[in-house]
């Protein structure tokens, strides 16, 4: 049902290095993380159709590799911001799946006590400062945490995830300008799935590559295939390492395939299905193939990673279903601080 409308010059470049930077342990960890995201997202789609998950829900199926390869290299002391398609980023950054699912189901046990929902996940304990429902809205905030890290000294970095649709906002251009001016320890990670909501990138801009958009600012940048997890791992790892040393900012553009419509319930009638393209781009299938070829993965291990992930999401769903809804007084209690303490 899906076909990515790619212009020829944005075809995903295959990484020559493959998984060169990935150890067997890293590979297994990434594959397990991707399965957890896939299992979560597939279940969320089902629960949305069953009206158990509320609101506007945007799934990241096809983008699991970017979330895993970036967040699994970060620490809880780092700061991560994301946009409206954020479930995978939160999970990969360490958010527990049961509280994440409870949040999507509007429960008091959710990460945000049911007041955030799908587009506004926050898990401060793991450095996930949060998602936003306003495209481009969180880009400036990432400069703020990066500035705080720079003023404090130390090695904390900030990562800001956003889609290619955000690149056409004024906030993006202002943020790239100011982040480069102030040399902030910040990695901008653009998931370029070639679609801004219902329409292809070519309908929004004449600049195909996001890394070209920022060229005049002189920041170091790279474009990799987001379906090639090893390539994302290597490219992000290098930027992160430099940012921990106080350099920055950096921009990493990951070309991804959006498997689902813009949101769950979107008829996706504006694209033609392309199963062959999905088979080429599925980041889980590609890493699985690579792991078996490189000898760190067996079919049995692959099956068990998927089974573990699905069992975890089953349990998370049951946890959420058993959880109470937030009390009616909660909104008034959390609009402003109650005790005067920050």
């Amino acid at each position: 049902m899906t076909r990515v409308d790619r212009q020829p010059d944005v075809a995903a470049p295959d990484s020559a290095s493959g998984t060169a930077g990935l150890s067997a342990a890293d590979g297994l960890d990434l594959l397990g993380t991707m399965w957890r995201i896939r299992a979560l997202e597939e279940r969320v789609g089902q629960l949305k159709r069953a009206d158990e998950v509320y609101g506007l829900v945007h799934l990241s199926i096809g983008g699991e590799g970017v979330a895993a390869a970036v967040c699994r290299q970060l620490l809880a002391s780092d700061a991560v911001y994301s946009g409206h398609r954020a479930h995978g980023h939160a999970l990969a950054q360490g958010a527990p799946s049961d509280r994440l699912m409870a949040e999507l189901m509007g429960r008091d046990t959710g990460l945000c006590r049911g007041l955030g929902g799908s587009m506004h996940l926050v898990d401060l304990e793991h450095g996930f400062f949060g998602a936003t429902g306003v495209v481009g809205g969180n880009l400036p905030l990432a400069l703020g945490t990066a500035l705080a890290a720079q003023l404090r000294g130390g090695t904390d970095v900030t990562v800001s995830f956003f889609g290619d649709g955000a690149v056409q906002t004024g906030a993006f251009h202002e943020s790239i300008n100011l982040a480069t001016l102030w040399k902030l320890p910040l990695v901008f990670v653009c998931e370029n799935n070639g679609m801004a909501e219902f329409t292809p990138r070519s309908a929004h801009t004449t600049v195909a590559r996001v890394s070209d958009v920022v060229a005049p600012y002189g920041l170091e940048r790279a474009t990799v295939s987001g379906s090639d997890v090893g390539a994302v791992w290597d490219a992000f790892g290098a930027f992160k390492h430099a940012a921990r040393g106080g350099e920055g900012p950096f921009l990493l553009e990951c070309l991804t395939h959006r498997r689902r419509g813009h949101y769950e319930g979107d008829a996706d009638s504006y694209r033609e299905a392309d199963e062959a393209e999905w088979e080429r781009q599925d980041p889980i299938a590609r890493l699985t193939e690579r792991g078996i070829a490189d000898g760190w993965l067996t079919p049995q291990t692959r099956d068990s990673l998927e089974a573990q992930a699905r069992a975890e999401i089953d349990a998370a769903t049951e946890f959420a279903r058993r959880s109470p809804y937030p009390p009616p007084e909660l909104p008034a209690q959390l609009t402003c601080a109650q005790d005067g303490a920050a």
């Binding site: 700061a79 911001y81 959710g110 990460l111 945000c112 006590r113 049911g114 007041l115 955030g116 506004h120 926050v122 898990d123 401060l124 400062f129 949060g130 936003t132 429902g133 306003v134 809205g137 969180n138 880009l139 400036p140 905030l141 990432a142 400069l143 703020g144 945490t145 990066a146 500035l147 705080a148 890290a149 003023l151 004024g170 906030a171 202002e174 943020s175 300008n177 100011l178 001016l181 909104p331 959390l334 609009t335 402003c336 601080a337 005067g340 303490a341 920050a342």
Partner: protein, 329 residues
């Protein structure tokens, strides 16, 4: 006693906060140069350009930087040079800063202060003279402070910087260089407490910012006719000191609300609604609003002067609510 000005009092309060707490930083266009009104003069020299940071003309992103830095534990004070340009930062203010605590279930705090200044009277034209504070007061999660004197500006700034939530601090350009006597370091003024400038038993006048002095001038003129007006400055629009206002109306039985902003859909309407609900039986007349007409602020001197509410307008409103002879409708 020493002499200060409103803008000097703001600047001194910023300096005291920066001296007391390293997490306090100042961001904005030309702030390290002191800004067009000298509100940050000398801070960069004293605290360095790391903490007093000039920014590009990117109000939206600079506001967002303050939100992120606040979430990371800093106490940013971001200056929007004219309140008219708050329009460019509204996404950050309304969608990010105001809702972060709520949407995160209480995990995030945004202890930032957005300093800005509004009001007309300097021939700035329709894009540099607006009074937009009521817009901001309509957003749950923001506090809105609007002092009318130097001592209150200083005391409220201290409280705003210490506040755990985002505070929009609306200064008034026409008040910046008025001289005022102060005695020592101004004490902190709690957010959400009104100040009664003049006591009276016949009429309550609630006025904000520059309109406080015009209300006091009107009260003096009314006193010459034997009418005693009570003049209250709420000082903060959100949270609002409803009790002080309604208690006064319960004694005076008459209310006028005076603001520089256009009256329509504004702060005065909100006060009128609150008071008619809380003290309906105490009111002897409909609440009167005095504000600007529903047009943009004109730049031409005679038009701008006519546009702004003055003491005459307040006196006329008092005559109407008190049903005195000669009241003009």
């Amino acid at each position: 006693m020493t002499q200060t000005t409103y803008v000097r009092a703001v600047c001194d309060a910023l300096a005291r906060a920066m001296q007391a707490d390293e997490r306090v930083i100042v961001l904005g266009e030309d702030v390290a140069e002191g800004g067009p009104y000298t509100a940050t003069a000398g801070l960069a020299e004293r605290f360095g350009r790391e903490r007093v940071r000039n920014t590009p003309i990117s109000e939206g992103t600079v506001a967002g930087v303050a939100v992120g830095a606040a979430q990371a534990g800093y106490r940013p004070i971001v200056e929007i040079m004219f309140i008219d340009f708050v329009t460019l930062a509204l996404d950050q203010l309304a969608n990010q800063a105001a809702k972060a605590r709520f949407m995160s279930g209480g995990q995030l705090s945004v202890p930032l202060v957005m300093r800005t200044q509004g009001g007309a009277g300097q021939r700035g034209g329709a894009q540099h003279s607006q009074s937009l504070e009521s817009w901001l007061a309509h957003i749950p999660g923001l506090k809105v402070v609007m002092p009318s004197t130097a001592i209150d500006a200083a005391g409220l700034m201290t409280s705003a910087i210490a506040d755990p939530d985002p505070v929009v601090f609306v200064e008034t350009k026409a008040l910046y260089f008025l001289r005022e006597e102060i005695d020592g370091e101004p004490p902190a003024v709690p957010i959400g407490v009104a100040r009664t400038f003049r006591e009276g038993s016949d009429l309550t006048i609630v006025a904000t910012a520059r309109m406080v002095s015009r209300a006091l001038e009107a009260a003096d003129r009314l006193a010459a006719d034997g009418i005693e007006a009570e003049v209250i400055d709420p000082r903060t629009l959100v949270p609002l000191d409803v009790d002080t206002i309604t208690a006064s109306v319960s004694r005076t039985n008459h209310l006028i609300v005076v603001e520089e902003a256009v009256s329509s859909m504004g702060f005065g309407a909100e006060i009128a609604a609150i008071v008619q609900h809380a003290a309906f039986d105490d009111l002897d007349a409909p609440v009167e609003r005095v504000g600007a007409p529903f047009t943009p602020v004109p730049v031409s001197p005679r038009l701008e002067d006519a546009y702004l509410p003055d003491a005459d307008a307040v006196v006329q409103a008092a005559r109407r609510v008190l049903s005195l002879p000669g009241a003009v409708r």
